[in-house]
Every structure is written in structure tokens, then in C-alpha cells.
């Protein structure tokens, strides 16, 4: 797998496809600066040679153009020509500006699009253990706000940095061209202004982190108060909460006010600095004009360039100090991109799956966990047969299925699971899961319509979807919704009851016609009557598939060809329903308990 050794590598990787847009955008940015520099030149020429009588000093092209128009005299008679030139240069500048911005946006959006897609697809293929280890909120944060930070870093801060450098260079060329010494007099301010802003912004950066932390604390108080409203009320501690909140609120606000004071002081003092620079240009310029080393037009051009330069120079310190923050965000994405994806062995196979499934001395400890969840479990699920696994909470029954579908990898020294004699570790994971249909204990519905949810695994057609829904006894419920199969479910849709969710998940599994089907406690939230109906329909819908039924309710699995009683990760008993009843063990006691309630209770 590709790993990214440093932040630069990762950013360059994400930049594939967007580099050319950024290159174009910077080219146009250069043109913008260039055209922006030309108007003051025209004005300077107008003041000196059209309004004044100085011999024009213009480039060859302009000279030719003036001759075509009829010489300086014609310009004096018709200043409209000059206005047209200014407007034309303005139009060119506007066009370049438009192209610069659109190219930059294309670059930025392509870049961010690549980042999002790469992250998402990487996350899709990370092992399930990774998902369990990392918190959802944190990963989403990385994929959203860190992505934005990096986007700003590349498409705004970097670009602005380069633009400012281009602009300063041009201004140096143009200003020094007019009068080197006046320029030098004003140029001494540039490093001072940049330095001042850089020092201020990097100093205040720490204060901003502090104020963020304080805001987090205040926000946490509100959050705790809201989620703990029952406790607050029941203990009558509203007053205490109020004091706690007001104290932190005042502290946080005070901190901000202090920051505001610093920033106001910075702005005002930076204004003085830039003002002094402008004054220097005016004073030195006036002196040069009286000296005869500079013209009035040159003076006007010089002051215009100076103003153009001021803003980007003032921003530079802030931009540079903000850029340093991007490193942390890139680091956070690198963590995701460097996490190892699920990988098949190089010679992974796709063997037939309608074979015996054998659990061979399987023991298991969850990664990072301490206790054994499974201990030396061995049993066989004969092809085409139905097997039941009965177990209480924490018996390890779901873990067995997690191992069979390779959501968790079984270390080789802890036993093995085979299908038709092939170790599942040697089978392609995607192939394995495609052929093992499983209804999870806590089914997850996607924010889509019901029909899309049921048919999600292999784009089944409507007929197949309805057939599966009927077998799962959910068809009636679905058709009773106004939008029927087009009803939107999930986070932003209709909320289904636990039983409805389970039945939808069953339909979702049945539609796939996998050779192996697993029901992981998937009828627990369904009432007894529906449970019976689904069970009755099962043999027909599952056909020749190998079926594993996991349940805590005996009625769900009593008809299985073989039943395994799993307790605390060990097999306690096994056999058919009748055999198990005869054993008079745990199975029998549970059966008695469950049936006693049924017979007389309902």
C-alpha cells in the first residue's frame, strides 16, 4: 500500500488533477498585476505629456499607437482617446481577474473533491476493527473541517502568498523604474510592516487557541446542562448551574475583550505605519519633483503603486502565521490515509460456497480487549442444512458471525474457519461477504427509500424486492405508508420501529439469494406472531442455502437440524431440539421457562 511519509507527499498526491488549474490561475494573477500596473503609467503619461509638455517616454508599441492616432496633438484635442485606453486596460485587467478567480476556484474545487473522494473510498475499505477503534465524530471532523483548512491553505493562503510576492516584485520594478531613491525611502517600511504583522499574528495565535479552549469549556457547560436537565431539576440546582455558567461566561468574555483590545491596538498602530509610508512617498516625491528628477505624472503613478502595494503587504504576516496551522490538519488526514486497508492474500481464492462450514478450535480475544470471548469452539455447519445457535447476552454468538464474515480477522494460532476445506483467510473478503448473507442484530438503514434499502446489495428489480419483502412480512407495512416503497428512511426520513427495521433488513438479505444465510438475533424485536410467520416462510425462501439462526428465543430455532448452546464463549450442549430436551440441561431449563410463559400467559 502507498504510504505518505510526510505532509508534502500527501498534499502533492491530492493535488493530482488540480495542479494545472492552479498554474493557470497564477499565470492570470501575474497578468492582473501587470495590467493593474499599466493604468498609472497611462495617467502619468497623460499628466506629463498630454496636459503638460514633456517629451513622451513610452514603449515602442504605445509610440506607434500614438502616431496612428495623429500624435500627441490629437490626444490633447481628444482626451477621450486616453480614457478609452484606460478603459481597455481596465477591461483586460477585469478579464484576467475573472480568469484568475475561476481557474483558482476550479483548482480549489477539484482539489477538495479529490480529497473527499480519496478519504471516503479509503475509509470504505478500512477494516472494521479500525472503525471500532476510532470515534465517528473525530473522523467526520477530519473529513470536513480539516479538509476545509487544507483547501484554504492551498487555494487561498498559498495563492495569496505567491500573488503578493509577484505584486511586490512588479511594484519594485515599476516604482524603482520611476525613481529608485524615492522607492528605497518607502521600501524600508515594507519589511517592517510585514515583520510587525507576522510577530503580532503569531503571538496572538496562541491567544486564539486559548480562547477556543475557553469557548469549548463554556459550550460543554451548556451541553451538560441540557443533557443533564433531569438531574439539574431533580436536585433543584438551577441556581448553581446559573452561577457556574455565568462565571465561565464572564471569564471567556473577558478574555475576548482583552483580545479585542490587542487587535484594535494592532490595527490602529499598523495604520500609523502604513500612513507614515504614504507620507514618506509624498514628501520624498515632492522633493524629487522640485529637484527635477521626477515629474508630476511620476508622482501620481508612484503614489498609486504605493497604495496598491499596501494591502497585500499588510495581509502577508497574517497569511503566513495562519499557514502554519495547516500542518496539523494535513497530519490528521495522513493518519486516515496511512491506515492499512483490508487486504486479501495475494493468492486469495473464490471457491464454491455451498459447502460445509467448519469452525475448528476457534478462540478469540477482541483486538485491544482482555477477556476471551470465544474459547475453543468447534462445530460444523453442513452444506444446505440449518443450524441454530442459542446463547444469552455476551455468549459470543455474534462474534462467531463477525469472524465468519471476516469483520474480525482470526489470528492463525487461534484456530481456523473453513468453507469446503478452504480457510476463509484465503478467500477474497468481498467474495466471502457476497456469498454470506447476514442480518445483523442491530440493522442499519441507509438514508434512501425502502426499495433502495432492500435492493441495495445488488440493484435488485422491484419484483425481487417485493418478493423478499413479502417473505420477511414487511410488504404490508411498507404499502401502508403513503409513499409505499418510495418512503424515505434513515436519518432524515421516517423512523421505523425496531421490528420493522429488522424485517427490512431480512428482506435486504433474502433478496441476495446467497448460498449462506445468517440471522443474527434478527427476530428479537418482532412479535411472536410475525416471528412465526417469517419462520414458516423461511424454508421456501432460503431454498438450498446453508442457514445459521442465532437467537435467544428457543421457538426461533427449535426446528433447526442441529442446535448449539453457546455460553460464555464455550459450547455447553448441542444436538437437535428433542435431543437437547432429553439432556435436561441448560437448554431444557430455558425451554421450560420460555414455554411456561407462552402457554398460560397469552
Amino acid at each position: 500500500m502507498e504510504t505518505y511519509k510526510n505532509n508534502r507527499q500527501l498534499v502533492l498526491h491530492f493535488l493530482k488533477g488540480s495542479k494545472r488549474f492552479f498554474a493557470l490561475s497564477l499565470t492570470f494573477a501575474t497578468l492582473v498585476s501587470l495590467f493593474d500596473m499599466i493604468s498609472p503609467k497611462i495617467i502619468s503619461f497623460t499628466v506629463d505629456s498630454v496636459i503638460g509638455d514633456k517629451a513622451p517616454e513610452v514603449p515602442r508599441i504605445a509610440e506607434l499607437l500614438i502616431e496612428r492616432l495623429g500624435g500627441i496633438g490629437a490626444l490633447k484635442a481628444h482626451p477621450l482617446f486616453i480614457a478609452c485606453a484606460v478603459a481597455a486596460i481596465g477591461a483586460l485587467a477585469a478579464l484576467s481577474r475573472f480568469l484568475f478567480r475561476t481557474m483558482n476556484a476550479r483548482g480549489a474545487e477539484t482539489f477538495v473533491c479529490t480529497m473527499r473522494e480519496e478519504l471516503f473510498s479509503h475509509i470504505m475499505y478500512l477494516p472494521y476493527a479500525w472503525h471500532e477503534k476510532n470515534s465517528t465524530g473525530d473522523i467526520i471532523q477530519r473529513c470536513t473541517s480539516d479538509v476545509q483548512t487544507i483547501k484554504r491553505f492551498v487555494s487561498e493562503q498559498m495563492v495569496q502568498l505567491i500573488r503578493t510576492i509577484i505584486m511586490i516584485t512588479m511594484a519594485i520594478i515599476f516604482m524603482a523604474g520611476i525613481h529608485p531613491r524615492v522607492f528605497l525611502g518607502s521600501a524600508v517600511f515594507i519589511p517592517v510592516i510585514i515583520g510587525y504583522s507576522l510577530v503580532f499574528h503569531s503571538k496572538i495565535g496562541g491567544a486564539f487557541e486559548k480562547v477556543d479552549a475557553e469557548e469549548g469549556r463554556l459550550s460543554a457547560i451548556v451541553q451538560e446542562n441540557l443533557t443533564g436537565v433531569r438531574v439539574v431539576r431533580a436536585f433543584g440546582r438551577e441556581m448553581y448551574e446559573r452561577e457556574r455558567f455565568e462565571k465561565q461566561n464572564t471569564y471567556y468574555t473577558g478574555f475576548w475583550i482583552h483580545l479585542m483590545q490587542l487587535m484594535s491596538a494592532y490595527w490602529a498602530s499598523a495604520d500609523v505605519l502604513t500612513g507614515l509610508q504614504v507620507l514618506t512617498v509624498i514628501a520624498l516625491g515632492s522633493y524629487a519633483c522640485i529637484n527635477g528628477t521626477m515629474t508630476a505624472g511620476g508622482f501620481i503613478a508612484m503614489t498609486s503603486y504605493n497604495i496598491m502595494l499596501m494591502w497585500p503587504v499588510r495581509q502577508l504576516g497574517r497569511v503566513i502565521s495562519e499557514m502554519s496551522k495547516a500542518g496539523i490538519s494535513i497530519e490528521r488526514l495522513r493518519y486516515i490515509m496511512n491506515s492499512e486497508k483490508e487486504a486479501d492474500r495475494p493468492d486469495a481464492k473464490e471457491p464454491p460456497m455451498d459447502r460445509d462450514i467448519v469452525f475448528d478450535h476457534v478462540s478469540f480475544v477482541y483486538p485491544g480487549g482482555s477477556g476471551e470471548v470465544l474459547h475453543d469452539v468447534s462445530f460444523t455447519v453442513p452444506a444446505g442444512k440449518t443450524i441454530g445457535i442459542l446463547g444469552g447476552t455476551g455468549s459470543g454468538k455474534s462474534t462467531l458471525m463477525g469472524l465468519l464474515t471476516r469483520l474480525y480477522e482470526l489470528p492463525p494460532e487461534d484456530g481456523k474457519i473453513t468453507v469446503g476445506g478452504v480457510d476463509i483467510a484465503d478467500i477474497k473478503a468481498a467474495y466471502l461477504r457476497k456469498n454470506i448473507g447476514i442480518v445483523l442484530q442491530e440493522p442499519y438503514l441507509f438514508s434512501r427509500t425502502l426499495s433502495e434499502n432492500i435492493g441495495i446489495a445488488d440493484d435488485a428489480d422491484m419484483k425481487a424486492i417485493r418478493r423478499a419483502a413479502r417473505a420477511a412480512s414487511i410488504d404490508d407495512a411498507i404499502t401502508s405508508f403513503t409513499a409505499g416503497y418510495d418512503t424515505f428512511v434513515g436519518e432524515r426520513g421516517v423512523t421505523l420501529s425496531g421490528g420493522q427495521k429488522q424485517r427490512t433488513a431480512i428482506a435486504q438479505m433474502l433478496v441476495r439469494h446467497s448460498p449462506v444465510m445468517i440471522f443474527d438475533d434478527s427476530l428479537s424485536a418482532v412479535d411472536a406472531e410475525t416471528d412465526m410467520k417469517i419462520r414458516a416462510a423461511l424454508p421456501e425462501t432460503t431454498g438450498s442455502a446453508t442457514v445459521i439462526l442465532i437467537a435467544h428465543r428457543i421457538t426461533t430455532l427449535m426446528n433447526a437440524d442441529n442446535i448449539i448452546v453457546l455460553d460464555k464463549g464455550r459450547i455447553r450442549e448441542s444436538g437437535t431440539h428433542e435431543e437437547l430436551l432429553k439432556m435436561n440441561g441448560l437448554y431444557r431449563r430455558i425451554y421450560d421457562l420460555q414455554t411456561a410463559g407462552m402457554e398460560e400467559g397469552e
Partner: protein, 603 residues
């Protein structure tokens, strides 16, 4: 989020609703506005220095008066800097103070609202009102206002200078302004529309990440990684397309505005050039107009942007003021407040002792957001010291009775009596000060263990605290913490395990020495040692107290004086354990299921 809220329109952008919160800072605002306006007006005056330099020093080839010129310039700079500092700081302070006041007001008001408000609004929604709406509103009344002042006074200053120095040229520029304003408004509207669209797609993308991560298990077993990827790709492509389109519009906008500036400059050069050639105008004046031509559109654009921003903030003003004016449907009457005090100023001297008799008298109840009665003509006497167990499945509505006893809700009809008097005759705080509450998912507050334990009784001594911990055998929790009672528990008690949090919350309830105890037992599986400790804690805590236990543990159920069986929100039977078992009904079923869980792992 409801769609119609987005397009809300209030008179004057809803600002008048905020007057009560701004009023205390009138003085500061006047200073801020006046000095801010002066600062910008000075900005408008700077080109006049250029003019003087051009026409006087350069035009007349003399350095006469340059010292005064420099001194005046520096003096103006410094004067402006001081005013700028004072007004910007005043503005920042105003923003933060208004934020603070609004947050306090919202938070304090929330403390008085009843549970029906909390049931109808999600924590996230309320949290956003307190933490983010307040910030946006504070920003509006300070910086947005300031922006309008700055830009407005600059434009005004420019206008005055222009009219003074040359009315003909001023007229040439001014005809362009209305066209510019219309153009800007048009673009602004378009951009706002795109931005809304982008936000929508963005939340879809976040939703997809969420689904891709929380649904990982399903995605893997269904083998639909590729499909999820493709669908996600469609969303990001949509986002890219829309964002690029938005960028085109705003790039066109910006280029058009700069183009307009160039056109203005061209007109100034054309008309001004003629005037200057005819010696009707001096070069200095021309240069002033050229500066204005380039710099006047920015502040106009600023004003339009600010107004658009204000329009967008109306929703937040509406939502926050709605929260602030929300009336609680459980409130103490004026007479009660007069005698017993309110939540923040209790009159403890008038509080009677609470003995512990509870009675439901012909109570009918319906949740404010529900349309079915969950209790009808319900009668139950609970003499002091009685232990009531409430059993039923998750989500069956077991909390209803508890909600009524705690007066989190009031009966729709009928009465709940405490010591023979209607619960509404005395203050909520009085009642709550006598109730101990242990939640199924124990809720601790960030702070030290001591602070958490004292939650129910702020004046408890360390000895009393240790005694309470001993009673529920929770000293073991302290042992693993390095600073004992001073150890921080983290946000929501994150430093502790669920079992440990349970024990601490039992100790907290005991320490409060309540007359009535409400207990929502945990169903979550915890290790056997803690399980045993919790069982002992429950036994200790309920002894001698009137208690309502939402019960899951067999022992609690078996020993209860009265068991209420709840199904689908209603109480379907009541009696002692023996009586209910004899009925062989729903209770029997629930009980055997519990018992069965005990069989597992027995040997």
C-alpha cells in the same frame, strides 16, 4: 430544519427585538459610531494631501510649508489612530458584552423551562441557540453596524469633498453610482442563492460521511463499498459543479466592479483632462478624483454585503427571541413564589418539612406533544417509606409517574398530592430539594468528584461525603483516582466507567438525604463485582424512604411494596410480586425473561 424559517422577514431585520439587550450600552455605541465615522471621514480626506503636494509643492516648485504639511499629516494620522483604536475597541467590547448578556439570558431562561420544551427541541437545536445565535447577533449589532458606519461615512466624506472641489466632475461620477448599486444587488442575490445550495449539498456530504462510518458494519457485510463510493462521488461532483458555478458568478461580480472602477477612472480622465487642458482645473484636483474613482465602489459594495448579511441573520434573531419569550408550562403561581421564593431566590425560611406521603388522586395525563391519554383516572396512595417498582419494556413509558411526582409535568386532570397538599401549592425548588434522583445513564458534570457529590447538598463536609461513599461501597472508585476527591471526572464523567458513575450518582443521591427517591435502574451489563456493589447501594438507599424505582433487577422487583406494570404507555396491572405472578400475565412473561438471563453463565 423547516424550510419556511429560512425566508423569514422581520421589520428592520428584527433589530428592534434586541433593543433591551443593547440599551445598557447606548453610551458606548454613541462613542463608537461618532469616532468610527470620524475615522472614515479622515480617510476620505487623505487624497487632499496629495492634491496639496501636487498643486503647491510640485506645481509651484517650492518646499515652503513642507514641515507644517508633514506635521499636519502625522498629527492627523495619530489622531485617527487613537479614534480608530477607541472605536474599534468599543465595538469589540460591545460585541462581546452583548454576546455574554444574550447567552446569560438564554441560559437562565432555559433553567426555568419545563420538560415539554426539552422534549420538543433537541439538545443540538437548543445548544445552537445559546452558543451560536448569540454570537451572530452580537456581531450584527457591533461589527455589521460599524461596517455601515465606516463605509457610509467614507462615501459621504468623498461626496462632500467632490462636490466642494469640482461639482462638474462629481456629477460625472455620481451618475454611475446607482447603476453600480443595482448591479451589486443583483449579483449579491444570486450569490446568496448559490451559497444556500452549497450549504445544503455540504450537509448531505457530511451525512454521507456519517453513514459511511456509522454504517461500516452493514456496508461491509453487504459488500456495498463500491456502491457507497459511487453515490458519494455523485455528491462531491455535484458540490464541485455548484461551487465552480458560484465561483463564476462571484468572479464575474468582482471583475465587473473593478471594470466599473476603470470606467469611472476613464471618465474622470476624459472629462478632467479636458478641464485641465483648458486650465479650468489643476492636476492636484484631478488626482483626487482619480483616487476616488478607484476607491469609492468598495465601501458601497461593503454596505450592500452588510445589509445582505443582516437579512440572513433574521432567522437567528427570530429563533433566539422565541426561546427567550418561551413560557414554561410548569410554573409556580405568583402566590407560591411570594411565599416560597423562585428558582434563583428561594425563601427557605418558609419551607415546610417534607414527610414523604405521595398520592395520585384521579389523575389523567397526556403528554403536551401527544394526543393520547397515558393515564386515566389513576389513583394510588403511596404512604411514606413505600417502595414502588415500575416494570415494563424499554420505551413503554415507565417514566410517566416519575415525571408527575417530580412535577416535571403536571397532570392534565386530577392532582398529585405530597403530604396531602397539591404539589402545585409549593414551589418546584422546594420539591426538588427533597427529591433524590438516580438516572439509568448516570449524568455527572465536569468538575471534581467532590463537586459532583455535593451537587445535591453544597454544604456537605468531606466526612459526610466519605460516609456516603462508604454506604454505597464506592470508596474503590476513589482509590484508582490519583487526587482522591479532587480528581477531575472529565466532561460527562468520561474518566469513569459506567459502573463507577452509577456508584457516584448513588452516593450523590444519598448525600442529599432526600425524602423521596427516584431510581432508574441500569440495564447495561456491568461486571459482577460492580453489579453487587450497585445492588447493595440500591438496598441502602431506598430503606426508609418513599421510593419510585424503574426496576430491572429481580431483587428490587420482588421486594417492592407495589409493582406497577407498564405496557404501551399505560399501567396495565399492579400488585405485589406474588399477586402478579399468580395472574400469569404480562408480568409473568417479563419476569421469566429476566430470570432466564440469570440462567446463562450460572455454572
Amino acid at each position: 430544519m423547516k424550510e419556511e424559517e429560512k425566508n423569514i422577514k422581520l421589520p428592520f431585520y428584527g433589530i428592534p427585538r434586541l433593543f433591551p439587550y443593547i440599551k445598557p450600552y447606548r453610551g458606548r455605541m454613541v462613542v463608537m459610531v461618532l469616532l468610527g465615522a470620524a475615522t472614515s471621514a479622515i480617510d476620505a480626506a487623505y487624497p487632499l494631501f496629495n492634491r496639496y503636494a501636487l498643486d503647491h509643492f510640485i506645481g509651484e516648485q517650492t518646499l515652503n510649508g513642507i514641515v507644517i504639511f508633514i506635521m499636519a499629516y502625522v498629527a492627523l494620522l495619530i489622531g485617527q489612530a487613537v479614534m480608530n483604536y477607541v472605536s474599534a475597541f468599543a465595538c469589540g467590547k460591545l460585541e462581546m458584552t452583548v454576546n455574554k448578556d444574550l447567552r446569560n439570558a438564554a441560559f437562565n431562561h432555559l433553567q426555568t423551562l419545563s420538560f415539554s420544551y426539552y422534549n420538543q427541541n433537541s439538545v443540538g437545536y437548543i445548544h445552537a441557540r445559546v452558543m451560536s445565535d448569540t454570537g451572530l447577533i452580537g456581531e450584527s449589532v457591533s461589527w455589521r453596524l460599524m461596517n455601515i458606519v465606516w463605509s457610509g461615512s467614507y462615501v459621504l466624506g468623498v461626496l462632500i469633498v467632490m462636490l466642494f472641489i469640482d461639482i462638474r466632475l462629481a456629477a460625472c461620477i455620481l451618475v454611475l453610482v446607482p447603476a453600480a448599486v443595482l448591479l451589486m444587488m443583483y449579483f449579491q442575490k444570486k450569490i446568496l442563492k448559490y451559497n444556500r445550495l452549497i450549504r445544503e449539498i455540504n450537509s448531505k456530504i457530511t451525512g454521507s460521511y456519517n453513514e459511511g462510518i456509522t454504517g461500516a458494519k452493514s456496508i461491509k457485510v453487504l459488500g456495498i463499498e463500491e456502491k457507497m463510493k459511487t453515490d458519494f462521488k455523485a455528491e462531491t461532483r455535484e458540490m464541485k459543479k455548484t461551487s465552480v458555478r458560484e465561483a463564476h458568478v462571484s468572479a464575474l461580480f468582482i471583475s465587473t466592479v473593478t471594470m466599473l472602477s476603470s470606467v469611472t477612472l476613464a471618465i474622470v480622465l476624459w472629462q478632467g483632462g479636458q478641464l485641465t487642458l483648458a486650465n479650468a482645473m489643476r492636476i492636484g484636483t484631478l488626482s483626487v478624483f482619480m483616487s476616488y474613482a478607484l476607491e469609492m465602489l468598495d465601501p458601497i459594495q461593503g454596505i450592500i454585503e452588510t445589509l445582505a448579511g443582516l437579512a440572513a441573520i433574521q432567522v437567528n434573531i427570530e429563533r433566539l427571541t422565541r426561546l427567550l419569550t418561551e413560557k414554561s408550562d410548569v410554573a409556580d403561581s405568583e402566590e407560591v413564589i411570594a411565599k416560597y421564593g423562585d428558582m434563583f431566590e428561594p425563601k427557605k425560611e418558609n419551607w415546610e418539612e417534607l414527610y414523604g406521603d405521595v398520592e395520585f388522586r384521579d389523575v389523567s395525563f397526556r403528554y403536551p406533544d401527544g394526543d393520547e391519554y397515558v393515564l386515566e383516572h389513576f389513583n394510588l396512595k403511596v404512604p411514606q417509606g413505600t417502595n414502588i417498582a415500575i416494570v415494563g419494556e424499554t420505551g413503554a413509558g415507565k417514566s410517566t409517574l416519575v415525571n408527575l411526582v417530580c412535577r416535571f409535568f403536571e397532570p392534565t386532570k386530577g392532582q398529585v398530592l405530597i403530604d396531602g397538599r397539591d404539589v402545585r401549592e409549593r414551589s418546584q425548588l422546594w420539591l426538588h430539594s427533597n427529591i433524590g434522583y438516580v438516572l439509568q445513564s448516570p449524568h455527572l458534570f465536569s468538575g471534581t468528584i467532590r463537586e459532583n457529590l455535593r451537587y445535591g447538598r453544597p454544604d456537605a463536609t468531606d466526612e459526610e461525603i466519605m460516609e456516603a461513599l462508604r454506604l454505597v461501597s464506592a470508596e474503590q472508585v476513589l482509590l484508582k483516582m490519583d487526587k482522591g476527591l479532587d480528581s477531575e471526572v472529565g466532561e460527562g464523567g468520561s474518566q469513569l466507567s459506567t459502573g463507577e458513575k452509577q456508584l457516584i450518582s448513588f452516593a450523590r443521591a444519598i448525600l442529599a438525604d432526600p425524602r423521596i427517591l427516584v431510581l432508574d435502574e441500569a440495564t447495561s451489563s456491568i461486571d459482577t463485582v460492580t453489579e453487587k456493589a450497585i445492588q447493595n447501594a440500591i438496598d441502602t438507599v431506598i430503606r426508609g424512604r418513599t421510593s419510585f424505582v424503574i426496576a430491572h433487577r429481580l431483587s428490587t422487583i420482588v421486594d417492592a411494596d407495589v409493582i406497577l406494570v407498564v405496557k404501551d404507555g399505560r399501567i396495565i396491572s399492579r400488585g405485589t410480586h406474588a399477586e402478579l405472578m399468580k395472574e400469569k400475565g404480562y408480568y409473568y412473561e417479563l419476569y421469566t425473561r429476566q430470570y432466564e438471563e440469570l440462567l446463562w453463565g450460572e455454572g
